[in-house]
């Protein structure tokens, strides 16, 4: 196994750990929704929302880095990042480039607008909870590609 393929497996192992943290956060946030009164939220509930937001963001970020490493290994273009996404779409690892970018923008926007309108904030979390299983599925598809393409030992 080349050093670079070993690095891809290391990234996938890390992604698997992040996945478990995210799955836990999804269950915690799902139990909180719908939130009718944001003012009434306790500190630990705000912490639950914050943890979900961060884990969701970091999971997609790290998945993107792993995808880039795969593109490099396969000697495909890796810049701009859209080239990586187009390759992943072709492999069937992601549903579409547009959907990946929309989810990425969703988590950028929630970080930006965190203290604003409660209705908008609620919609952000609803949409992120809806998008999270898509990320998990894309992760599974990335693992499948790597398992069928690279030997782990």
């Amino acid at each position: 196994m080349s050093e670079h393929i070993a690095l891809i497996w290391k990234k996938l192992d890390h992604l698997a750990r992040m996945r478990e943290y995210l799955r836990y956060s999804i269950s915690q946030v799902t139990a909180l929704l719908p939130i009718s009164d944001w003012q009434a939220l306790q500190a630990d509930q705000h912490e639950t929302l914050a943890a979900f937001r961060i884990r969701f963001s970091e999971y997609q970020e790290h998945m993107g880095k792993t995808m880039k490493a795969v593109a490099l290994e396969e000697e495909k273009p890796s810049e701009p990042f859209t080239a990586v996404l187009l390759y992943m779409e072709k492999l069937g690892c992601i549903a579409s480039v547009d959907r990946w970018k929309d989810i990425r923008e969703l988590r950028n926007a929630v970080n930006h607008e965190y203290e604003d309108d409660p209705h908008v904030l609620h919609e952000f979390f609803e949409q992120m909870v809806r998008a999270a299983p898509e990320l998990l599925t894309w992760h599974d598809q990335l693992i499948h590609f790597c398992q069928t393409t690279y030997r782990k030992n």
Binding site: T82, D98, L106, Q127
Partner: protein
């Protein structure tokens, strides 16, 4: 205003396709001013029922096409928030 006619066409057609045929788009912020350099493209749009995912689709699509950072504000018709008042007062309708 520091946008080319082609960029204005892209903005208007994308907003109408994604957000609805009747939307009005206003450019505000630094790109209204000819003497300033650089800066994001700040856009203000009013529509009957703002939709988060449509807004995000519109923003991502504009950034891809223009290859520039876009800040897109979408509010309901007749909004009187501070950002709406600034955009309506200082902006240029495209």
């Amino acid at each position: 205003m520091r946008l080319t006619p082609a960029q204005i066409d892209t903005i208007k057609s994308t907003a109408q396709t994604v957000l609805g045929a009747d939307v009005q788009v206003t450019l505000f912020g630094s790109r209204v001013h000819d003497e300033i350099k650089g800066g994001d493209v700040d856009l203000y749009v009013e529509m009957a029922q703002p939709d988060l995912m449509k807004k995000i689709r519109c923003k991502v699509s504009l950034q891809d096409q223009l290859d520039m950072p876009v800040d897109l504000i979408v509010k309901p018709h007749g909004d009187h928030s501070p950002i709406a008042l600034i955009a309506k007062h200082e902006g240029i309708r495209l």
